[in-house]
Symmetry: C2
Subunit: 371 residues, 2 copies
C-alpha cells in the first residue's frame, strides 16, 4: 500500500501535537476523526484510534471488525479486536510501546469513562493528559478531494430541490410533513446519495417558527413551507434550507420577512472570504436584520462548518473570532422567526476562497410560489 | 396543571438520589432522560435539566425554546433561555437556591465540559459530585403507558414486514439496499410512525455478515437479505430483524445456519422471565450456538433494552448479572455470521413478565422465500 491521504493526515496530527505538547501519543474517540485519519467510519461503534510515535492501533469490536479490515486505508494501523473492556488492553499496548504520557481526546469521552481510563493507565504509571479537539483544526480546512465530494453532495441537493419545485400544487397538499421529508430523501438516494445528513426539518406555517422543528404526520396546508435538508455523499454532508409559499395568497409580513432574509443572506455570501473573522461575517447579517426591526427574531448563529459532520467548526457566530481560511466550507443561513406566524430561513453552503466564496448551490433564492 | 407522570418520575429520582447520596440537587444532560422527566425532547439541543430540593429548571437555547414551552408537562419546571455559555447562569441559580453540593450526570457530559463546569461552580464554593446513569435504572422498567407505546410501535413494524413480504420477486430485484430501506420507512410513516428508530441495516448476501452493515446503493440480487429496522412512535422505539431468501436456490449452509439461529432465538424467548439474570439469558442462546459449532460466529451480545432509546439498559450480554424485572423491554437477537458468505439474525422484542415474556411481534420466524 502506498502512502495515502490518511498517512499524511496522521503525520500532520502527530506533528501538531508534538509541537504543542511534546508528545506523539494520543487516543482519539470521535468516530468522524477516526474516519478522517484512517478511512474507517464506525458509527456508534465505540472504536478507538491510538497513535503512538512508532505504531498506530485501531480498537474495534466484533460487530465492526470486518468493516474495519476492509476500510482502513493506511498500512500503519494495526487493527485490534476487543471484547467488552478495552482499557486494560490499551494499557498493555501503551506499556509495550514504552509510553509514559498519553494525550486523551477529552471533548468526546464522558467524564466517567475518562476517570476509569485514567485509573487503569495509572496502574502502569502512564500519565493521562486531556486534549480538546485535536483534529478539528485540521478538518476545518478541506482539501481538494474533500471539496469535490462536498460539491457533489450539493449538486445532488440542488437536483432534489428542482424535483420538489416540480411537485404540483394539488400533490403538495397530499403529503404530510414527514411524507415530503421521506420523498426528498428518496430523490437523493435515487441520485446516488447515501441518505439524509440529519433529521430533516419540513415545517409548515406556524411550525416553521421553531428553527429545529421535528416534522410530524401533519398534512401540508396552504401557506409557508420551510425545508431544511441534506444528503451524505462519500461520507461528506450537504445542508440546504429553502422556504417556499404554497397557494395563491402571500401573507404580507411573511413576504416582507422573506425579502429581508434573502438580502441578509446575499450580503453575507458576498462578504465571505479568507481573512475575515467568523464573528464579522455573523454581524453582517445580524446588523442588517436588526436594522429592519427583526433582531430579536434571529436568535441563532449565522452558520457552521460542514464536512464529515453536518455541524462542525468553524462556528459562524457573534463570539467566534477565528479567521476564516481558504478551503473552509460553511453554511450561511440567517432566519427570522415569529411565534404563531412562521419562520423564513435561506441557507447556502460556500467554500471560502481568497477573494470571495464559491456558492455550492444554484437553487434559486427568489420567492417560489406553488399554486 | 395536575400532577403528571413526569412529576412522579422527578420525585422518584429525587428520592433515589437522596437515599444514595443524601443530596436532592442534580444536573441531567442526557436528552432522553430529560424527556423522561419533563416531556421535552430536544435532540442535539444541549439542554440541561436542573433539579433542586425546591425548584427545577430547564436550560434551553433560542432554537428549542418554543418547543420546550409547549412540551414541558409539569408545573414544577421553570424554563430558562440561555445564550452561549450556561455554566455561569447555572452557578447563579444554584447559589440562589443555597445549593453547596451538586450531583452531575457524568456519563453524558464530556470530560472537558465537566472540568469547565466544576471550575465555574467552585467560584461559588459549590462542590461538584459525579454520578453515573442516575435515571437509567428508573427507565429500564416501563410503566403501562410506555409499554402501550412500544406495543404500538411493534404493531406498525409487523405491518411493515407484511408489506415487505408482499413485494414480488421481480420488484425486489429493482431495489437497491438503500431504496428498500427508505421504502420500509415510508410504510412506517404512512401507518403513523415518526420515522426510523436508527439507521437501517438492509444487507444483501455477503454484506449481511457485518452485523451493523451500513446499507449501500447496491441493487439487491438473489440470495440472502437481512433487514434490521424499526420505527419511533410516541417517542418510543421498535427494533426487529428478519432474514429472508430471494430466488429459487437455498444455500445449504445458510439454511442450516438459519435453523440454528431460529432455534437459539426461540429457546431464549421461552426462557425469558422475571428473576433470571441477563447473563443467563445470553448464555442460553450462546451455549446452543456453540453446541452447533458456530460459537465464534456469534460475536455480539444477545440483546439490549429498548425504549426512548433504541439501545438502552438492560444489556443482555455474558457479563451482566443484573436480574430481569417485570416490565423491562428487551430484544432477543442471536445471529451467526460467516465472512464472505453472509449472516442470519432473527430479532424480536419482548416485555418481561412474571411467568414468561410477551413477544411483541407476530411476524413469522420461519424461512421466507421470495421467488
Amino acid at each position: 500500500m502506498e502512502n495515502t491521504v490518511f498517512d499524511i493526515r496522521i503525520n500532520n496530527l502527530k506533528k501538531r501535537i508534538a509541537a504543542h505538547e511534546d508528545i506523539y501519543d494520543i487516543l482519539i474517540f470521535k468516530e468522524e476523526d477516526i474516519f478522517y485519519l484512517s478511512g474507517f467510519f464506525g458509527k456508534y461503534s465505540n472504536s478507538v484510534l491510538l497513535l503512538t510515535e512508532n505504531k498506530n492501533y485501531l480498537f474495534v469490536n466484533f460487530i465492526y471488525i470486518e468493516d474495519a479490515k476492509n476500510s482502513v486505508k493506511t498500512k500503519d494501523i494495526e487493527i485490534i479486536l476487543y471484547d467488552q473492556d478495552k482499557n486494560e488492553l490499551m494499557r498493555e499496548i501503551l506499556k509495550s510501546n514504552n509510553v509514559d504520557k498519553i494525550l486523551i481526546q477529552s471533548d468526546c469521552i464522558s467524564y466517567s469513562n475518562y476517570i476509569k481510563m485514567e485509573k487503569e493507565f495509572k496502574k502502569a504509571k502512564i500519565k493521562s493528559i486531556s486534549i480538546e479537539n485535536p483534529v478539528e483544526i485540521l478538518r476545518a480546512v478541506k482539501d481538494e478531494s474533500e471539496q469535490e465530494l462536498i460539491r457533489n453532495a450539493c449538486k445532488l441537493t440542488d437536483r432534489s430541490f428542482e424535483l420538489v419545485c416540480d411537485i404540483r400544487y394539488k400533490d403538495f397538499l397530499k403529503y404530510s410533513e414527514l411524507e415530503l421529508s421521506i420523498e426528498i430523501e428518496k430523490f437523493l438516494i435515487s441520485f446516488g446519495g447515501k441518505g439524509r445528513s440529519f433529521d430533516y426539518v419540513v415545517a409548515n406555517n406556524s411550525n416553521s417558527s421553531k428553527p429545529h422543528y421535528s416534522s410530524e404526520n401533519l398534512k401540508i396546508t396552504k401557506g409557508l413551507l420551510l425545508m431544511d435538508y441534506g444528503v451524505v455523499f462519500g461520507n461528506y454532508c450537504s445542508d440546504i434550507t429553502r422556504t417556499i409559499f404554497i397557494g395563491k395568497k402571500l401573507h404580507a409580513e411573511l413576504k416582507k420577512i422573506y425579502e429581508i432574509v434573502k438580502e441578509a443572506q446575499q450580503i453575507s455570501v458576498d462578504y465571505c472570504k479568507e481573512g475575515i473573522m467568523a464573528s464579522e461575517l455573523d454581524s453582517i447579517a445580524r446588523k442588517f436584520i436588526i436594522s429592519k426591526g427583526y433582531g430579536a427574531n434571529f436568535g441563532h448563529s449565522l452558520g457552521h462548518g460542514v464536512g464529515i459532520e453536518i455541524h462542525e467548526p468553524p462556528w459562524i457566530n457573534s463570539k467566534n473570532d477565528e479567521i476564516l481560511k481558504k478551503g473552509m466550507v460553511v453554511t450561511i443561513e440567517p432566519g427570522i422567526y415569529v411565534e404563531g406566524l412562521g419562520g423564513v430561513r435561506i441557507e447556502d453552503m460556500v467554500i471560502v476562497g481568497e477573494k470571495g466564496c464559491e456558492n455550492l448551490y444554484s437553487s434559486t433564492r427568489e420567492i417560489i410560489r406553488i399554486n
